[in-house]
């Protein structure tokens, strides 16, 4: 009994000593420890993610030939529809090329696209952060925008050797500017991720919406990136807009609203990281460079 008590006391003492040492440890050492821990668990994340991919592969492989035939038929229909759309875009593409040749316009390549599989969702911030299977080794840098198709997924917040953490649009750490569909004035509005809530679908807040903005006949107007902030390319879809009459203060000059990100955001398998070819000032700040 006494020995047990003594043992318990000793463990408390050890914990206290450890905490005291941790608190008073230089921040560089603590940062190194955190980084080391992340790198340590990275292979595990890769393994789990790849196992999930394998499981999915075998799950698909085990489907019956009837199911495959049905899926093939559906796919053929989708293909046919896309073929039609592609054909209609041909003229536009040709006209675009002609105009570019006339004006000798060269499209500036501002970003390098890196495709990455999603390793896991970080549950510590209520599923508002994902971890992807590409990192510093693949040229990914902090602050880079992450997209899926034409929709914004979020931004890279931390980069490790083989993994990166991405704050989703709905994360409280996410902030960007947007234009709203149907706003003729093209006023800049502010998008801020809202703190996660396990019982609700994650959303972002839209603020500083001009008072005279109304969705009009649009059922679900979209919010697009402005392309002015030097981080996101323009015209990427951030989500759909819900004007929030409750959040708008009476007599205020601005309205508030909610941003509903696209449904794919909750079930992401793969994303593209747009790594800027040139470092922007914000990235330099994130890396904590010294000022002159």
């Amino acid at each position: 009994m006494d020995q047990n008590r003594r043992g318990a006391r000793a463990s408390y003492v050890a914990l206290t000593i450890f905490l005291a040492v941790w608190i008073f440890m230089p921040s560089t050492v603590r940062r190194f420890n955190r980084e080391a821990f992340t790198e340590f668990q990275a292979p595990g994340l890769h393994l789990v993610s790849k196992s999930r991919d394998l499981a999915r592969f075998w799950e698909l492989k085990s489907r019956s030939s009837e199911e495959m035939a049905l899926a093939g038929r559906d796919l053929a229909r989708v293909n046919a529809a896309l073929e039609l759309k592609l054909a209609s875009l041909d003229d536009v593409r040709r006209e675009n090329t002609r105009l570019r040749e006339i004006t000798r316009y060269t499209v500036p390549a501002d970003y390098m696209s890196v495709v990455a599989r999603v390793a896991t969702r970080d549950s510590s911030s209520w599923w508002n952060r994902i971890v992807i299977r590409k990192g510093r080794n693949d040229g990914i840098r902090p602050g880079a925008p992450v997209i899926f198709g034409n929709s914004v997924v979020g931004r890279v917040t931390a980069v490790h050797l083989t993994t990166s953490e991405v704050d989703l649009v709905t994360s409280p750490g996410f902030r960007c500017t947007a234009f709203l569909e149907g706003d003729d004035q093209n006023s800049i509005v502010l998008i801020n991720g809202l703190a996660g809530n396990s019982l609700r679908t994650p959303q972002a807040r839209i603020s500083v919406i001009p008072n005279d903005y109304s969705t009009g006949t649009l059922q679900s107007p979209k919010a697009f990136t402005t392309g002015m902030g030097g981080v996101f390319p323009s015209r990427l879809v951030l989500g759909t807009v819900d004007l929030d009459s409750k959040a708008t203060k009476p007599g205020s000059s601005f309205k508030e609203g909610r941003l509903n990100p696209s449904r794919e955001l909750y079930n992401l398998q793969e994303v593209s990281v747009l790594v800027p070819l040139h470092q922007n000032p914000g990235e330099a700040l994130l890396q904590g460079d010294q000022f002159q």
Binding site: V208, G251, S253, Q279, N280, P281
Partner: protein
């Protein structure tokens, strides 16, 4: 030897019982004192102490409301509010950084072995250095020149607008003294950093976007948005609209505060705005709205900690002016084309009003100013620039001028009403007219010969007016001018009209008390001596002591168009489409009135006003060239008043240009093009409105 019991410790010496009771008693008294005191404070004084505690640990921050919008008669926004994005530093969150910097500076001072250590100065410097570092980072992000920070070594951009690039120690000291709990503003307006002139609106939006997307979200630097007055049309109608300036007189939403029993708490407020000129000033109470407030708990250091309660501010009411921005723009554009040989815009004014309602459609004055540049901080340079150009004066309502030949309309009416001349009387008008010992000249060296009323108005014959003025006499002439309200204040302020804003022209500081319609008593009063026939002759052609404003002369034209003597001008649009309340008739016979109108029409068709002639739009006007003294030398004022169309008047106008010593300024020639441009803008609008209102007329 006593046997000691294991586990018990006995006192080494016995305690005296009496002493023990004494100690117990002493402690009992102390305990009772503490208990009773605690109970008293808990049960009796709790309310009072709670109030004291709250007043020491809480504060109210007053939030300024958004001002109401100002529209023109068509719903075009003339004054609005725009989002202003400012970057502020949370001083409470920077405490650690301040402390670390202070210790660093202190160590350096000690190492230097300085004779005296001014710790307060070191603290000030520490705060300044920390804030400056953050400000450098902000500029590094928002500056377009840093679009590609290729080098990992960050360079602070070159200083282009020092006012916004450096933390001022005086500003910081003032902030800490007066508004310590509020965040410190590092960049006032992200979209227009510096003077607000260096960037285009597009560049401004980019700066905002760059900060939002690139600056770290977490940390002591906050992005705040509030609203600021904006004038989307720039200088358009600046004198009418006015501008706003900072005000600390912002009243809280008193009712709210009384309800929540928070009136005893310390109150802090952001600077609000109040109207400083024009409609912004006269309708300030309507436009400003109600302030809101926030209740905060504060830290022991005096910084805000948690927001406990909030009451939102309420935007002020909107105002709709009678102005039509298209006509206003045309008037200002035309005025700005009249320049002296050096290319400087000549001072001038232009007014256009609806004849039937008295509503002012345009009220322009040059030189002017851009209220956007006055809405936040006015730089000394810009203030002086406006001052030197004479841009503060609203010449339409504040400028006092001799009306010159435009007054001949009143002389003619006075003559006919007093039966000293009739519409068809022909007077012999030579090159001059002798009054006493002096020859009063005609502006045409050869004279006009046989002149009747119509011809007089068409060619603006002086001699006809000398004769008629002298026959009428100063008393009658004076009475007639007063009958047309030339010395009557037109511009009532909201306070004069018991909040009936429709009744108010409502522009501040009109020239009401300085208007002069002279008579012998006036001349004696100002020490000019006895009234002479020469004075009467001068008055008959609108010269001498007579002083009035362009708005008054526009009202004379509108009154003549309606065959009445008075017109009350309105600047607030009557959305119900009210009509002018009416006034006494002029009192001419039909033939006299017809001849008067015909003469005014001929003035444009063939007379002194023909430079302003518009094919397809016959209108009536009277030109005038008055003399005035500038720097002791004679210069000329160019006038043109009238109404359009000639047959069925809808609008009346008045244009005045102040000629300079080196300019060739003549009534119709100088003012005519301005009138022409205004009417050419108004006419298509009127035709369209007429077609919309009376579609049958189109068929």
């Amino acid at each position: 030897m006593k046997e000691e019991l294991p586990g018990k410790v006995l006192p080494s010496t016995p305690i005296d019982r009496l002493r023990l009771y004494g100690v117990f008693f002493f402690f009992a008294i102390g305990f009772i004192y503490v208990s009773v005191g605690l109970g008293f404070r808990q049960l009796v004084e709790s309310g009072k102490l709670k109030a004291v505690s709250e007043s020491q640990s809480r504060r109210i921050v007053i939030l300024p409301p958004a001002r109401g919008r100002i529209y023109d008669r068509n719903g075009e926004i003339l004054v609005d509010n725009r989002a202003r994005w400012s970057v502020k530093a949370d001083l409470a969150a920077l405490q650690k950084e301040f402390r670390a910097e202070y210790l660093k500076l202190l160590a350096a001072e000690k190492a230097r072995e300085a004779a005296t250590l001014d710790r307060e100065k070191l603290q000030e410097n520490a705060r300044k250095y920390v804030l400056q570092r953050w400000l450098d980072k902000i500029w590094f992000v928002i500056d377009e020149t840093n679009k590609s920070a290729k080098s990992s070594r960050i360079k602070v951009p070159a200083v282009t607008s020092p006012g916004e690039r450096f933390v001022s120690i005086d500003d910081l000291r003032k902030h800490l003294r007066e508004r310590r709990p509020l965040p410190y503003t590092l960049v006032t307006d992200l979209a227009f950093p510096g003077t607000g002139q260096a960037l285009s609106p597009q560049d401004g939006m980019k700066a905002v976007a760059r900060f939002i997307e690139q600056f770290p979200v977490d940390g002591p630097i906050r992005l705040e948005s509030d609203i600021i007055r904006t004038y989307p049309h720039g200088t358009l109608a600046a004198h009418v609209l006015g501008y706003v300036k900072d005000s600390d007189e912002l009243p809280p939403n008193v009712e709210d505060l009384a309800d929540t029993k928070m009136d005893s708490l310390q109150k802090l407020q952001y600077s609000g705005k109040k109207g400083a000129a024009g409609i912004e000033e006269t309708f300030d109470t309507l436009l400003r709205g109600n302030s809101g407030w926030e209740l905060w708990s504060k830290t022991s250091a005096g910084y805000n900690q948690n927001r406990l309660k909030v009451s939102d501010p309420q935007q002020g009411s909107h105002a709709t002016l009678s102005l039509d921005w298209r006509i206003q723009a045309a008037a200002e554009g035309a005025l700005s084309k009249i320049r002296d040989p050096q290319g400087t815009v000549l001072p001038g004014a232009a007014v256009m009003m609806d004849v039937h309602t008295g509503e002012i459609l345009a009220l322009a004055s040059q030189p002017t100013f851009d209220p956007n540049r006055l809405a936040d901080r006015v730089t000394n340079t810009y203030f002086k620039e406006i001052d030197d150009a004479g841009g503060w004066l609203n010449r339409s309502i504040q400028g006092l001028y001799a009306p010159g030949s435009t007054f001949k309309i009143i002389t003619a009416i006075a003559g006919m009403r007093n039966k000293v001349v009739d519409w068809d009387d022909i007077l012999d008008c030579g090159p001059s007219f002798r009054v006493g010992n002096r020859d009063f000249p005609e502006h045409e060296p050869a004279g006009y010969g046989q002149v009747d009323l119509e011809k007089m108005l068409a060619v603006s014959c002086n001699v006809w007016n000398y004769q008629v003025g002298l026959r009428t006499g100063i008393d009658k002439l004076h009475d007639e001018a007063r009958r047309f309200g030339l010395d009557t204040p037109l511009l009532k302020t909201p306070g004069d009209t018991e909040n009936n804003y429709k009744e108010a022209t409502a522009l501040p500081y009109p020239a009401d008390k300085r208007l002069v319609v002279p008579d012998p008593a006036y001349k004696l009063k100002i020490g000019g001596g006895a009234w002479t026939p020469g004075d009467t002759a001068n008055l008959a052609i609108g010269q001498g002591y007579l002083l009035t404003t362009p708005l008054h002369m526009a009202c004379v034209a509108a009154s003549v168009a309606r065959n009445e003597t008075r017109t009350t001008p309105y600047i607030i649009h009557d959305l119900r489409g009210g009509t002018h309340p009416g006034a006494a008739p002029i009192g001419l016979t039909t033939a006299q009135y017809t001849a008067l109108k015909s003469g005014l029409e001929r003035c444009v068709e063939e007379g002194t006003g023909k430079t302003g002639k518009i094919p397809g739009l016959p209108y009536a006007a009277k030109t005038g060239t008055a003399e005035y003294f500038k720097d002791g030398k004679k210069a000329h004022l160019a006038w043109m008043i009238g109404y359009a169309p000639a047959k069925d008047p809808a609008v009346a106008f008045c244009v005045l240009i102040e000629g300079q010593l080196d300019t060739n300024t003549w009534g119709g020639k100088t003012a005519g093009p301005v009138v022409k441009e205004m009417l050419e803008t108004w006419w298509p609008i009127a035709v369209k409105v007429n077609l919309e209102e009376k579609p049958d007329a189109a068929r």
